[in-house]
Assembly symmetry: C2
Homo-oligomer: 791 residues x 2
Amino acid sequence: MANITKRVSWSSLCEDRAPGEGTALLDDTPGARRCRRQEFSGGSLFRIGRLSTIDLDEEVTSKEETLKQPNEIPHNEKLLSLKYESLDYDNIENQLFLEEEGQMSPMGFKCVEISRWVICGLIGFLTGLIACFIDIVVEIVAAYKYKIVKRYIDQFVVEGGLCASVILWAILNSAFVMAGSLVVAIFEPIAAGSGIPQIKCYLNGVKIPRVVRLKTLVVKVFGVICSVVGGLAVGKEGPMIHSGAVVAAGVSQGRSTSLKKDLKIFEYFRRDTEKRDFVSAGAAAGVSAAFGAPVGGVLFSLEEGASFWNQMLTWRIFFASMISTFTLNFFRSIYNGNPGELANPGLINFGQFESGAYKLYEIPIFICMGAVGGVLGAGFNALNYWLTIFRIRYIHRSYLQVIEAILAAAATATVSYILMYCSDDCQTPGEHQAVEYPLQLFCPDGQHNSIATVFFNTPERSVRNLFHNFPGSYNSLTLFLFTFTYFFLACWTYGLTVSAGVFIPSLLLGAAWGRLIGNLLTNSGVSIFADPGKYALMGAAAQLGGIVRMTLSLTVIMVEATGNVTYGLPIMLVLMTSKIVGDYFAEGLYDIHIKLQSVPFLGWEAPATSHSFTAREVMSSPVMCFNRTEKVGTIVDVLSNTSAKHNGFPIVSDFTTNEPGRICGLILRSQLIVLLKHKVFVERAQLKQRKLLLKDFRDAYPRFPPIQSIHVSQDERECTMDLTEFMNPTPYTVPQETSLPRVFKLFRALGLRHLVVVDNENRVVGLVTRKDLARYHLGKHGLEELQLAQT
Amino acid sequence: MANITKRVSWSSLCEDRAPGEGTALLDDTPGARRCRRQEFSGGSLFRIGRLSTIDLDEEVTSKEETLKQPNEIPHNEKLLSLKYESLDYDNIENQLFLEEEGQMSPMGFKCVEISRWVICGLIGFLTGLIACFIDIVVEIVAAYKYKIVKRYIDQFVVEGGLCASVILWAILNSAFVMAGSLVVAIFEPIAAGSGIPQIKCYLNGVKIPRVVRLKTLVVKVFGVICSVVGGLAVGKEGPMIHSGAVVAAGVSQGRSTSLKKDLKIFEYFRRDTEKRDFVSAGAAAGVSAAFGAPVGGVLFSLEEGASFWNQMLTWRIFFASMISTFTLNFFRSIYNGNPGELANPGLINFGQFESGAYKLYEIPIFICMGAVGGVLGAGFNALNYWLTIFRIRYIHRSYLQVIEAILAAAATATVSYILMYCSDDCQTPGEHQAVEYPLQLFCPDGQHNSIATVFFNTPERSVRNLFHNFPGSYNSLTLFLFTFTYFFLACWTYGLTVSAGVFIPSLLLGAAWGRLIGNLLTNSGVSIFADPGKYALMGAAAQLGGIVRMTLSLTVIMVEATGNVTYGLPIMLVLMTSKIVGDYFAEGLYDIHIKLQSVPFLGWEAPATSHSFTAREVMSSPVMCFNRTEKVGTIVDVLSNTSAKHNGFPIVSDFTTNEPGRICGLILRSQLIVLLKHKVFVERAQLKQRKLLLKDFRDAYPRFPPIQSIHVSQDERECTMDLTEFMNPTPYTVPQETSLPRVFKLFRALGLRHLVVVDNENRVVGLVTRKDLARYHLGKHGLEELQLAQT
């Protein structure tokens, strides 16, 4: 995932630039004091030669430097990578599109609408099925493993030689983790982790390569089973969100590149806008299956992705979520032998909490717990940040990554064992609390080791036990030791090259210290604090909130998983506190990882203090433009220019070398590639060539071939191409004086990829892209600018 | 609310217009084939004289016609009223604004953010308090009324002369309703009804006069208490949404016009954008208090209002909702004598349903019930539509409206009485089912009349009883008769001049026929259908969905009120079916009323088949423009022109009489009014006049004085005004070839009020406003154009 590359420092180039200046209304010197940046450094045609030479030189230097200085920190959060491309969530309304829409009858639109619903239903169904599959396989394999280990431990406790059982346990776990890690490292490194940061990026509009492929899904499912069974401090909930998204991307496009199969259906949906909508539904279905939280799923998708709320879209997303929960619930009920018993909607279920069981005076305590969660979460994130930096520097080869995963598995088993060994917390099982794999160890007959139940259980069960076991089930020292060790284990585990999520470990961690607080309150002698279980719930919420920093969606997910609406207020207060406190110290875990990948992620709003910036200062300039009718040779040269990988090209009229032309359209690299591939040249029009249709563009979507693979002969280079029919004739434009927040709002609300900046005569003077906007960010000391680099 | 006025037919004027034509890229004849419309008929200055004369003539004619033909139908849904103004949800980023933002420190922005949270907390608190007040007053007064009536009925049953008790009951009810209706009709007619359509319009961006005033709130609260106590078929839930919105508008602006009090706080929020955000929070808090559904409340606000999803805003709205539920819950717990018992979050509570108590084979039955709900809902809406037309034509005087309300109250009491009298459905109260006011009537001792419990209870209790009373509590004939009569009563009641909502009557109606279906299934002898209560729930959902046609938010509201997440899937399926079936026959109730008011309401997307329309055809043209520096006399003349009430004026440079000028800004009527009021003339700049600040605009917001109230002397008319500093220098623009869906998306996503259409040299050729977009709508026979009229 993360390769060592050189950090190119652009700051020195940009030093002469004074933010806030140059806002005079009629200043027509576009980008006068602006530094050239790589992405759009081409400018008008005649400048390419010079600039690209510079760029190529730099490229060479950078390669040499990379070889010389492998130890330089390649990643930090003050950097923005140029390697990520954006998705285009604005419809390209060119003539082809308008013709197609014009030919469609109202009935045709209805059919499209119905197929959207069918696809969403399918997405929900398949996501639920995958969740069910993972759940059942994990349950079966884990049960088998627990049985074996328990038998050996029980045997060795009696016979002596406990060491052997530790080794057996560690080896078993390591073997599973190794299998999972190997598959991930070799076949699909993008399947590592929970996948939530990647999906967040996708929904935000950043193209993360290979993230929604079928192969990724297969590796992810296998990987997550291995790592959960391998006893790592991980959950299977996060990966469900990624899985749902992959299912959605596959189903909605009616084909799979991994399988090399095209069903020729749903071709209408082969564009970024439509695909994004379905991926939102998939992610929601994933959340829904993971937590039994359909509304939470919808809110997650909206929180992360939707730039524009659309009633029908939301309703469809909700449908997918519902179907997903229902499918999981239904098939699991069959597996459990009560077909049709629909009471356990998600992979994790917090169990039934007593209605309205908290009192007003407990709310301040909950808020304090939120603060604790925020601090612990920030600590977790900071630690994980340094660990990730370390990993990027030193553990970037596959075999090292696999070894680290194996080590983590072995360490987890060993530490767990030591904890169990040292603990003298023996418990008699209660009436309603069947312990599935009670480990007696050194406890008297009829009792079992309390801490062992946490480790000899799937983490989901452990969380539920912490919430609901009767007061006194765990003694405080056990909980403290568990919290302490599990904190570091979970922190180490997140970021390993295995497929696994951080939700469940966070919940478990929080539930443990929450229960500890509950215990302390119960033991304080004040009779009003009777139930440590609800403190465990609040602790879990606080810890999870402190780590991931989600807001509304997390509240709703927690409330839905609790199944009790009255807990909404305290959960919200806890999450709010943990977010505020946590944000003071460190960012959210997902955001940290997104930043470490230098992804140009756009927030909700431009930084509050950025009103003094205008489009003129933000834009890339000069811009590479084409004429309506352009020479093939020129187009090929521009597209082949490796140093300036432009993706959008304004089409201008009255294009002279002296001044910029008037905007009359916008065309994308992908469109030009298709045109070149089909050789849509004016000179060939007489050859009765068939007219290019939207279908041709859809067939090529989303993996357009690179320009290098398209052969253009010397004769053809002299031909011309008429772009009028294919360009988007009405790209959104802003004047140069537009403030950054205004540009940002337009960009974000419409999901744009390119925004053309024009002067007062509609001449193209610049282009704003995602990276131009993502550069500005509010740091501790006011507005900061990130550096751009080809990492 | 609805005055009789003449329908001006513009269709004949527009006949020469062929949709879809004129899309050639370089056609520079703006609006060549376009009919002139009133709103922006002014055009460039020199044309005003002529056009306004025509318009004034027309005005005179129309007045004469109004007098001649009072019986012509003034309202139908093919009409769009020009009288409604729009709200401006796009920030006016003029120099003053940018200067102010520039001077604010990051700390300042934090303070603003904190005050936003404080305001939202206050909104939630006050909304909860109002809900609590209404609830408790209704309970006390209704209990008193029931006691009196019950005593008399019991007495007369023994002594004979039951007629007297009916009359007593009818008179009591009528008295309450009369009080409520009088207050509404005399003091604030906008407080009639549930207020939901009005709030929908507000959030959509339409200015409904007087809708968020304190006086409206007071009348609403008094009115709703009277109508609920008066025994009408109404609920107090809908009005809570309106109340919340009013609270929000008042608190966030820090002043009240009704009280003539300005606290001089929160001045930063005195603009449409910010106010809208708070009103969203208020509406959400209202829903939350009404149904104990904080998430549902957030979704309601988003579904109706939010054009652009913003994480922090949503989170704040949720906070307000939570606080509101909590406040209501807390104060009610004190009233009920269990302070701190937080188990009943909303005004209505569906009670606890057994978890996962439905089976797979019941889902088809639920879906069929959804279809029934859709049909019944459509019938209800169609009937109410005709009734409303009738009311608009004949019952438009206050005294008639009050008389109608009194009649409805008397009729409700009488019909209820006849139902009770004819019913021989006697029930023995169950162990867990205390009946508060059991009416024995002609039942044996120890039993009570079953139908009387429905009428001698607040409708909320009746709904809960229908959900939870044990099987056999109601016999099928009773339920059928109740459904039949209540259907017509509820339909008559909605639209009366009283403050009242339609949620509870719909739920009650649906619960009744749902329970009837449940009864029939239970009696069918198939043992698997044991519990009629859940059918009552599904019936309630189906009926409500069939009437109001809300989607996601209603599902979540129902699920939250049920308190059981597992009922999510069947509720969603039921609501979906009822919406699809209902939409086939008639529109939703709120939409019907919005259309009958001819409000220019914008949907989520442009009609699917409207891609062939371009901005050129949609826009109003020619446009009234100003120069950067404009003569005061000209401005006053333009603003005073009553026939063409322009609200936004593009500022152009190079303005000649021959061709349109280049856009360089946009200024609003309200801004010009403030400038004229403060006499910001270039010639006065030497007089050391203080510089106009944003504060001056905020002080005038939102009720800017009419131009007639501003005196401009003949000398002053010769002065000039420099608009540069005050105009929005970067209005959003689109080229003429932009398709309607694209214009629509931009307009809707950014919450615009004016969108300037320019040619390829950036010259102003037209202006798109809300009414231009709202005109296009997808009817049964494809795309239809609504007519514009000064109703």
